[in-house]
Amino acid sequence: MKRGTRILSDADHRPEQRQPRQTLWQLVVAPTTWAVHFMLCYITAAVWCARFAGRDGPLAGPGRLIAVYTVVAVAIILVATWRAWRQHRWGQQAPPHDEATAGDRRRFLGLATLLLCELSLVATLFTAMVPALIGDCR
């Protein structure tokens, strides 16, 4: 290994390097799930009310669809949460994860992903709450 690379990686010779690959994309999995769920709910309800149900129509049909979307979205977010949790707990070190090591990078990205999962979960449940409280197309 050349000297320059060695300077960069001398803190990294730890077993945790053999973990599966992490990418920046994992940060956005949960919020993207929220976004897709949100748009699907909105479009489903809007199209249903505008094209099919009429102004006073009931929302039961799309309500069931939205429940299905929600179950799928929550499942995806929970899987992402679980994966992020494992990354975050790797090596059992507390924050702030500010060491120049691959391990701390992993733990940090795990924690950030985990927090985004929780925020997305809350936001998704907020969305799902809407048809539960609003019963018609008015």
Partner: protein
Amino acid sequence: MPIFEAFSILILPQLLGARDLPFPRLSAYGFWCFLIGGVFVCGSIFFNVAPAGGWFMYPPLTTQYQDGLGPDIWLLGLSFIEVASLAAAVELIVGVLKTRPPGMRINLMPLYAWYILVVGVMILFAFPPLIAGDLLFELERAFDWPFFDPARGGDPLLWQHLFWIFGHPEVYIIFLPSIALVAMIVPTFAQRPIVGYSWIVLAAVGTGFLSFGLWVHHMYTTGMPNISIGFFSAASEAVAISTGVQIFCFLATLLAGRLTRSVPMLFVAGALAIFVLGGLTGVMVALAPFDFQAHDTYFIVAHLHYVLIGGMLFPVAAGVHYFFPLATGKLLSPRLGRWAFWLMFIGFNVAFMPMHLTGLLGMPRRVYTYAPNLGFDTLNLISTVGAYVLAAGVAVLLFDVVRPRKKQPFAPRNPWQAGTLEWLAEMPPQSWGVRSIPVVRSRYPLWDQPGLMREVDTGRYFLPGAADGHRETLITTTLDAMPVQCQRVPGPTFKALWAALFTGGAFIFATFAWYSAALISAVLALAVILLWLWTGTSIIPEQEQKDVGLGLRLPLYESGRHSVGWWAMLITMIGDMSAFFSLVFGYLFYWTISADFPPAALPGPGIGWPVAALLLLLASWLLTLRARHDNREDRNVRYQLDLAASVLCGVAGAAALMAGPWFNGMRPTEHVYPAITWALVVWLTLHIGAGVIMQAYCMARRWRRRLTPQHDMDIQNIGLYWHFMALTAAVTVFTIAVFPLLTSAR
């Protein structure tokens, strides 16, 4: 917006210890576009042709009831400026991801860079819908295509959707970079690392996403179904969580350390007091029922100023005080700073606090006078007094910034004892930025890496000199910032200015309906850009690798996904897709609101021509990919033949695409259905035009041996472009030809 982009392009390289961001000429182009467009739009007020439709420009007031140039200036001027913003977004995203100093892993990145990354991505998704909206709007104003005219099937609400899909994220695009300044300033004066780094990253990314689920809260009173209102109300409440977390992280940082008093911290404290109140009223108006009353009243005026002055102006003032030495080498006066702060803080609250009440008493927005005896008079008088005090404070701040300071000594290096890399800068600042690019091992390297400044100054790290006489910076990997390439960055050029001038001409002449002049200007802009690309990009280096210091040898040329150019193309095309899907959204929107869309009485584009077009365009795409492969195998003749064939297929595809609506007699002024079909067709045709030019460019590059089997950045990048063209073509043809069949069969 321009403040933030200027700030970021100035600060980011220093923050990352980089010599420069990867696309300085693109930044220059963006800057000139901003300047020309800004002067054009703002200057209109001196010629009495300023836009008068509100910043939201709701049709039909602006399409059918306002003559003159005002609305056109707004539409085309701002579209032009948006181009500049997109250019800056590309630069900033790639800058943050690829030009960090070696060792600055993603968990060590300064928070400012995190915010910039998020904001850059937000710009990509927020601005293009407005560009699409502007396109439809201008087509209606200039050529009478009835997108927003209900008499011919259009709907003014589509504009509101497209505008606010841009408009609400825009608020966060302004707010996040300013809060990023706070995230840099607070740790410095607490002399402690930020507490809750991961939480702030959560907040930045979360806000970036959630801010796209808020747009309808500007449209609660348009009579949408409760269910739609409810979804957006839910997202509007959720975004408050991610905003609130940041405040608590800042407070926690202060609690962890001991505060050093200073003018920047004073402004930060003022920002906190003001912004928190604005945030809380924001939570209130996010609830649709309260918004039914508060919408379009002075309550909203108060709310938005509390958010923007507290969330933008005060942090920017703090940032000006804090970063001023980086720009000039000298400090601003703390005495004047305190004066400015108290005048601004008191003036602001005196001006805007009463407006909450004025609004609740029933004063609508955008009125220039009002009836007596409604209780508005005295409150407005107080607001006016406050506004003057606020202005006095801003004047003191500006005076401090511009006053001559020849005799004032230079500030000491790192005057605030900050921990982040930008304070490596020498006083006065030097044109090369950092003397050598350091290896970073901490979030606050100046605190945690003793001797770093001396080692950087003595050139102990990477790229200490410019042995080859080129401007160079390091490209590193996204997650772990391992150095992978030595990127040569170009120097100053007039081509960027000329390109901006001609691009501006294309927009500005179109404002005055001088379409031939606009067309000529556009062609000239294209020519200059091609010349700029030909002479300034993908230059084959004189050696494959070079020693960047510390015994590390790095390649000088990379292509494909290892190159910054490929990332820039990817990012640009994501923005392009978001504009395109906004048009598709428009098509589906018309279908949703009308039981008779597509109208049974009007002709469609048929199925034959569009499908033929799709097949030809897919062929053009595949041939381009094969040419890319040919080049790598060094089969020159087949490469040229494949590209020539792809050009032919592209042109034929565009022709077939236009033939469908043309031969079926779809007249865009007749109804919104032919109009939106034509809009999609024209959009795709223009993109194919660009794609064909790229293909021809690659033929020429190979012919002139500027493109070789190893140095194939050009064909790699246009291959990427054509991936997106294939997608655009498929979606367009599905929308205009297949979708009507599906819905009429039902």
